[in-house]
Amino acid sequence: MAISESSAQRYTLQDPDVRLMLEVRDDNAAAFDELMLRYQNRLVTVLEHLVGRRDLAEDLAQEVFLRVYRARKRYVAGAKFSTWLYTIANHVAANALRSMSRRHEVNLSTPTNESGPTSSLDRMALAASGAMPTRQADKAELCDIVRTALSGLSERQRMAVLLNKFEDMSYADIAVTMEMSPQAVKSLLSRARVNLKEILEPYLENGTKPPETE
């Protein structure tokens, strides 16, 4: 994609991470370390919730940083740095998920060691039915429930949700990252929200919160 001189100048002025990346392009190793320190936790967070495994998320994040380094000489300031970084991350994660899917390894919910209901959804159903001793799910359980809800979304919905929620990305930036139109992102995120609502509603309706009144 051709990038105009004016937009390159705009991104360079507005985004300090773009300026750092331009230094990386000029083989400044310290600039690369700085960028990595700024983004490593954010990137691993998104990837972990996308692929469902911390160890894999860290491997993928390293692959992303390696690709950033290898692509440094071709870098042009055509977008915010985070948009460029997550475009690479999106490709890396999609490849990994495809390979995992071929090997039937995808399991996004947290594995449990409990002898009771094996899935979080089973436990959610139990909680909702009142069969659990206490209907107060603790923080870990809440995490588990939300992870399971997230795993109920399609891969693309999940990526869009994570970029929007954790990276605070606009529809326009998500569109660039995921190579879609902003209108498609709007529909994708709307469907994701509705899916999340439908998955989480049994918990929300029958949990600690009082029923909604009109």
Binding site: N41, T45, C143, V146, L150, Y171, K186, S190, K197, E201
Partner: protein, 167 residues
């Protein structure tokens, strides 16, 4: 797709974009007016928002020092590989450059020789052209007037089977 489901999808998209702050000022005003008078619409917004807010419960990763260290090591290895590959390519590039330079020199030489042949006067060609003059040089030397020699020629005094010696 029924009209109702399309309508529902539109409402959900509108509310979702409203929650994300992605609507323009006019659309925001319309949504807020409807929120004020439509309880079902308001409830749908709350349900979407509530489910969305639960995502805040997801943990944020904090990687350890070993992650940073190993990533930097991986990048350092990649950088070293780049340098090695560049250095390996240098003699090959130099050989290629020398071969190209040699080829160009030979081609230039050949072109120069061809042009020289075309443009440089051939001294033997000049001698051949002047052969008859040289053969009769003694006569020319003794005569002062070229017209006189031509007159002698017309009278076939130089005849040796060829009539245009002096021409």
């Amino acid at each position: 797709m029924t009209e109702q489901s399309t309508n529902t999808e539109q409402v959900q998209e509108e509310l979702s974009a409203y929650l994300d702050g992605e609507l323009d000022a006019d659309s925001v005003r319309e949504v807020e007016l409807r929120l004020a008078r439509d309880a079902a619409y308001r409830q749908e917004l709350q349900r979407l928002e509530r489910a969305w807010d639960m995502l805040d419960g997801l943990p944020r990763a904090a990687v350890g020092d070993s992650f940073t260290r190993t990533t930097i090591e991986m990048v350092a290895v990649a950088a070293a590989d780049e340098v090695k590959s560049f250095q390996e390519q240098l003699p090959r590039q130099r050989r290629t450059r020398n071969a190209i330079a040699g080829g160009l020199a030979i081609a230039a030489g050949a072109v120069g020789f061809a042009l020289g042949l075309l443009w440089w006067p051939d001294p033997n060609r000049q001698l051949l052209d002047d052969l008859k003059v040289l053969q009769n040089f003694e006569y020319y030397y003794q005569a002062d007037d070229i017209d006189f020699l031509r007159q002698l020629d017309r009278e076939s005094l130089f005849a040796d089977g060829d009539n245009d010696h002096a021409s």
